[in-house]
């Protein structure tokens, strides 16, 4: 049911972990539904220089988290904001339809982290 790319990212997820002193944190999902993602970003000169995630969830949740960190790393904040759920699913060669909604939250987690970063910066 999962593409080879999803399975590959699930088995060898990139950028797992936390950033001790992050510039932004995004927390999305609900453990009741089975998927929770926490995304940490480090930003320098408007570029995402480091990004890490922790995810409680199914194979698709972990793979989308991993792929999102790969897509966002090295991007400017404006570029990263444009990464959509669809982009993440596409980069993974698609997701099963049932997973598109419940487990494809990583782009939301990234946007939440950026929002947190911008809010902190505005202070």
């Amino acid at each position: 049911m999962y593409s080879d790319k999803v399975m590959e990212h699930f088995a060898n997820p990139r950028n797992v972990g936390e950033i001790a002193d992050p510039d932004g944190i995004g927390k999305v999902g609900n453990p009741q539904c089975g998927d929770v993602m926490w995304m940490y970003i480090k930003v320098k000169d408007d570029i995402i220089t480091d990004i890490k995630f922790k995810t409680f969830g199914c194979g698709a949740a972990i793979a989308t988290s991993s792929m999102t960190t790969e897509l966002a790393k090295g991007k400017t904040i404006e570029e990263a904001k444009k990464i959509s759920r669809g982009d993440v699913a596409h980069a993974l060669d698609g997701l099963p339809p049932v997973k598109m909604h419940c487990s494809n939250l990583a782009a939301d987690a990234l946007r939440a982290a950026i929002k947190d970063y911008e809010a902190k910066k505005a202070k």
């Binding site: 927390k27 409680f56 194979g59 698709a60």
Partner: protein, 404 residues
């Protein structure tokens, strides 16, 4: 990580089982040369009829019934539907009240829900945290207009064995019929429909090494049941359809083999199960058994692991060559985890992190040893990815886990 074994390991016998060679061999002639219709009068038909009757006797023997009380169906689901809707919709009834539990298979719960939508009343009884129905609850639930009590013999997920004999007795004392779904129990424990006060009992061939696509309903002599399929009047007018002769032959052989070998296979599976139940919480922190430690199916070991989600467990085990299952929502496509696990009083988070290992007669110590060797590493790997841990069990008090 230990070396992956050359052969895949199958620990999902609650889902289905391998058709063993003895059964394949028994079926083979009825797929090819003995292809007659069991209703035909010629020799082709007669040899098919004899084979169907032999199978009926073997299946009856497995549960202490008479051959004429066995109705062949296409599946456990059909048997449950025939029992529940067949009893409720018979002209002698047509209205009334049914009692069942919250942890039944959907093949019981959905027919009950259907009947409810058609004006019947249904009581769904809760279970204890180990998955047992309370006999006091059963007694209190049965009313003067209760027509049927349906409680499964053993639970498909957590293996809990219900006190069916007492439940059946209570049903009978109030004039209600007693149905039990024995799909998971059959072939793994002794069943006696007279001793256990059972009027209707569902069986499925593929859960004990028979072929898929064939099941049976035991209907106690004299029990009035309305057929679901009308047609040529097969199976004592209860289930019209040309008999699935090869399937029925395989089913009968599987029942015979299960009964013949039960003392030995049940003991072997029980030993392996107990090894898993003992070792998992010893080697993995924050791991808990679901269900009762001993009053459970001999082949069922069901655990939950805090802070992780079950689909990941199943996928990583699969990558290590082990097939098992989970009650997590993510594996089923719904957002809700297993209703059985929620009925035990587990939180959604706890229910998501479950793993079901269901053993079969062919599993051995070496396979269980390999599972116990790889499982701690797999749980750790997922926990390293999880935002939750013993120090941070939930999302904190900063407003839950919704988008911040």
């Amino acid at each position: 990580m230990p070396e992956r074994p050359s052969k895949r390991i199958y620990f999902d016998h609650g889902a289905t089982t391998r058709v063993i060679p003895e059964v394949v061999e028994a079926m083979a002639p009825y797929v090819s040369e003995k292809y007659g219709n069991a209703s035909s009068i010629h020799s082709f038909g007669r040899e098919a009829r004899t084979a169907v009757d032999d199978s009926r006797a073997r299946i009856a023997a497995l549960i202490g019934a008479g051959p004429s009380e066995i109705v062949f169906t296409s599946s456990g689901t059909e048997s449950d539907n025939l029992a529940i809707k067949g009893v409720a919709l018979h002209e002698s009834r047509g209205k009334g009240h049914l009692v069942t539990t919250e942890i039944e298979h959907s093949a019981v719960l959905e027919p009950c829900a259907y009947l409810k939508s058609r004006g019947f009343e249904v009581t769904r009884l809760p279970v204890s945290k180990e998955g047992f129905v309370d006999l006091g609850d059963v007694e209190a639930a049965i009313r003067d207009d209760t027509i049927l009590v349906s409680v499964m013999m053993a639970n498909s997920e957590i293996g809990t064995i219900q006190p069916v004999r007492e439940i059946g007795k209570m049903a009978h004392s109030r004039g209600a019929l007693f149905h039990t779904d024995a799909v998971q129990a059959a072939g793994k424990m002794t069943i006696d429909v007279d001793r256990d006060n059972i009027d209707l009992l569902s069986l499925s061939s593929h859960k004990f090494h028979g072929p898929k696509g064939v099941g049976a309903l035991y209907v106690r002599k004299g029990t009035k049941v309305e057929p679901l399929l009308h047609g040529g009047g097969h199976e004592g007018k209860l289930r019209s359809s040309t008999e699935n002769v090869p399937g029925i032959v395989g089913f009968g052989k599987a029942a015979e083999v299960a009964q013949r070998d039960m003392p030995e296979t049940a003991e072997r599976m029980r030993h392996l199960r107990d090894r898993i139940i003992k070792t998992v919480p010893e080697t993995i922190p924050d791991a808990y058994l679901n269900g009762h430690p001993t009053n459970r199916l001999v082949n069922n070991a069901h655990h939950r692991f805090d802070f992780i989600e079950g689909e990941g467990l199943v996928l990583l085990l699969d990558m290590s060559g082990i097939a098992a299952s989970t009650g997590s929502a993510c594996s089923t496509g719904s957002l809700e985890p297993s209703p059985v696990l929620l009925a035990l009083g587990l939180t959604h988070e706890q229910a998501h992190g479950s793993l079901r290992v269901t053993l079969g007669r062919e599993n051995n110590e070496e396979e269980v040893g390999y599972l116990l060797e790889v499982l701690p590493g797999i749980v750790s790997k997922l926990r390293e990815m999880s935002p939750f841990s013993k120090d941070r069990p939930k999302c904190g008090r900063e407003g839950g886990c919704s988008v911040q």
